[in-house]
């Protein structure tokens, strides 16, 4: 399609009204309130649902929620997550959950903060928190290990506590010896 440009009027061709208009706009903004935020001193209020760095959480009883099902490792688009499963003798730090990761590493340099890990996690063990300014002096420092992730993640108030619930239910039925 050919769009016909309307011919410019004399005033437009003289450019002067445009100059005046531009001057008005810039002058108005010159005296306007400034929007700059002084970053390290002032910080932005992170909104709900913000996707920051992914961290591991513990439940209110202090147990590691992750059971190393490795779904996050599988779904992670940039392959930032690396989980070392516990192996045959793996145990969890709570009854019935049977296992937890021996090592859990997130390479924050690779992470794209997409939130797939949080979405896929069947145990609500990983959450994208509000941290957005991750820094480190080396690449190695940016690979967060399990201890660091758990420390940063803090406690998640688990309303369901599936494994605990299961263990209690089983205990009531007087079956299966489950040792934590």
């Amino acid at each position: 399609m050919i769009v016909k440009r309307p011919p410019l009027s004399l005033a437009e061709r003289l450019y002067l009204p445009a100059i005046w208009g531009g001057f008005k706009v810039t002058l108005r903004h010159f005296f306007k309130k400034k929007v700059t935020m002084q970053y390290p001193e002032e910080k932005w209020v992170v909104p709900e649902g913000y996707r920051g760095a992914p961290y591991l959480v513990r439940d209110q009883d202090g147990h590691t929620k992750c059971v190393s099902c490795q779904l996050c490792e599988f779904v992670c688009p940039p392959k930032a997550i690396k989980i070392t499963p516990p192996g045959p003798n793996g145990t969890a730090d709570r009854a019935n959950a049977e296992k937890m990761p021996r090592e859990f590493e997130i390479n924050m340099l690779r992470c794209i903060f997409c939130g797939f890990c949080q979405e896929v996690c069947p145990e609500e063990a990983i959450f994208l928190m509000k941290d957005y300014a991750l820094t480190g002096a080396s690449r190695n420092e940016m690979i967060y290990d399990k201890e660091k992730l758990l420390a940063l993640g803090g406690v998640h108030q688990d309303r369901i506590q599936k494994w605990k619930h299961k263990a209690e239910e089983a205990a009531q039925q007087d079956v299966f010896p489950v040792k934590p």
């Binding site: 059971v67 190393s68 099902c69 490795q70 779904l71 490792e73 599988f74 499963p85 516990p86 192996g87 045959p88 793996g90 019935n96 959950a97 049977e98 296992k99 069947p122 145990e123 599936k162 299961k166 239910e169 089983a170 009531q172 039925q173 079956v175 299966f176 010896p177 489950v178």
Partner: protein
Amino acid sequence: MSATAPTETKPAAPAVETLAVKVDGKAVVVPKLSPDWQGKPAPTTMLQACEAAGVTVPHYCYHPKLPVAGNCRMCLVEFGTPALGPDRKPVLNPDGSPKINKSPRPAIACATPVSPNMEIYTNTPGVKAMREGVLEFLLINHPLDCPICDQAGECKLQEYSVDYGAAQSRFVEPKVHKPKKVDLGPRIVLDDERCILCTRCIRFTRDIAGDDALGIVNRGSYNTLTKYPWSQFDNNYTLNTVDICPVGALTSKDFRFQMRVWFLKETKSLCTSCGTGCNVLIGSREEKIYRYTPRQNDAVNGCWMCDAGRLNYRWIDREDRLKEVRSPKSEVRSWSAVLKEISEKLNAAVPGSAAIVASARQTNEELFLLKQLAKKLGATTDSIPRFGDGDKLLVSADKNPNTNGARLTGICFTEMGIKLPEIARGIQSGKIKTLIVFGEDVTKHGISAADLAKLETLIVSDLLPNETTKAAHYLLPGCAHAEKRGTFTNTKGRVQKFMKAVEPPGDARPEWEFLHELVHGVTGHNGFATIEGLFNQMAKEVPEFNSLTWAGLGDAGVTVKI
């Protein structure tokens, strides 16, 4: 000429009685009799007819290599048979087609034989409702264990739940809890909560392994799979129950919590622990092998393999694997320099002054190349026999995976190892000055370390360090079978190929690769630089292999006359 017909199960050619049936409206002709779990002819079942029509019928308890139990009810289908008039003749529809009387009740496809002109319906709303019903019952007490269950990813219950499961359970009462983490035997862990009571494992261990160790106790919702008390579930085939368990009730202690199955790259390979040559899939991730699982090949191992062979993979990534090419002063060298030096030495050797001890753990191609070398050098060749206990099912007494390959390529004679004393004497008398050893520790087989010290040149290729590699003048690191491609000839003369699953460690290279270069350097005979070309060349020169090609071997291999 020497290749016999493959022994896959197939109906004897000419006089097969057939039946015409319809599956979901699609007409198929099936034989009246089909092989049952033992391979004996039995009336063809609806499930087999559906398979022939390309229709998948979900099932848990049915397994083609196990007796039919018919207890899971997942394979329920609807069907109809031709209506017969009072004259015992088919009633016809107005358009001339036979009238079908739809059966008022469904039938389990796995155990119901087909009858002539039967129509099977697998996609009706009724069938769907039945599957959903069965699944809902199964899921009542099944725990939500998927995150901690090793079966996740290859679990039939998961798969069918996606197809037929409800998003939410209607069952509000507490689930029945059963024993978890039960130690069944040295290699098996049982989780009774996950068990769906299909009895595949019971039938396998009773009817295939011949060790009636498992059974179900208690009634109703408390049905519990258990082992025979006061004994262990411990025979050489227990891990097959893990493979056939459709859920995660039986899990392997070896593979337990090692890696999720969806990460594993599956490579078609062979088990090298004995002469049977069971077909396996190697599950590996990031150059680490996590498990072997049997690969179906009815001419060799059916669907099974022994525990000993299955667990014999840990040595492949052992820390002390040989990773460097070393030469006389045991310094690290490059392949090209060392191969050049060896070629020169071998070229200068007096004919008859060399001997080769090959290994029947090497591939046909490698043994063939060694034979080429031996011909040029006039060398005495032999290999080392390895015998152990066999059984009636799969395990062979011959513990070398490629005894027949060594024979057919001419490395050894009918009786393996008879020339070893001759070689030892030759070294002692100083007649033999150069010894080439591949993959064997000759110090344990009649050629002492003192003898080795007398040699002018000792060329050794191996995977792991031993007394012979310590004495080597030239040490060439080789590859495990999982790290290269090649073929083995099993005890029954079946030539089977295997594929590469992981990268070799360090500087190690497939033996056929550097042998090819060595043969080229010594004989000037340039073969093929690819395994396909090499195999096809070998097939031309070894009479028994004449009719074979690499591509023609397929996944299941070809049996040759031995």
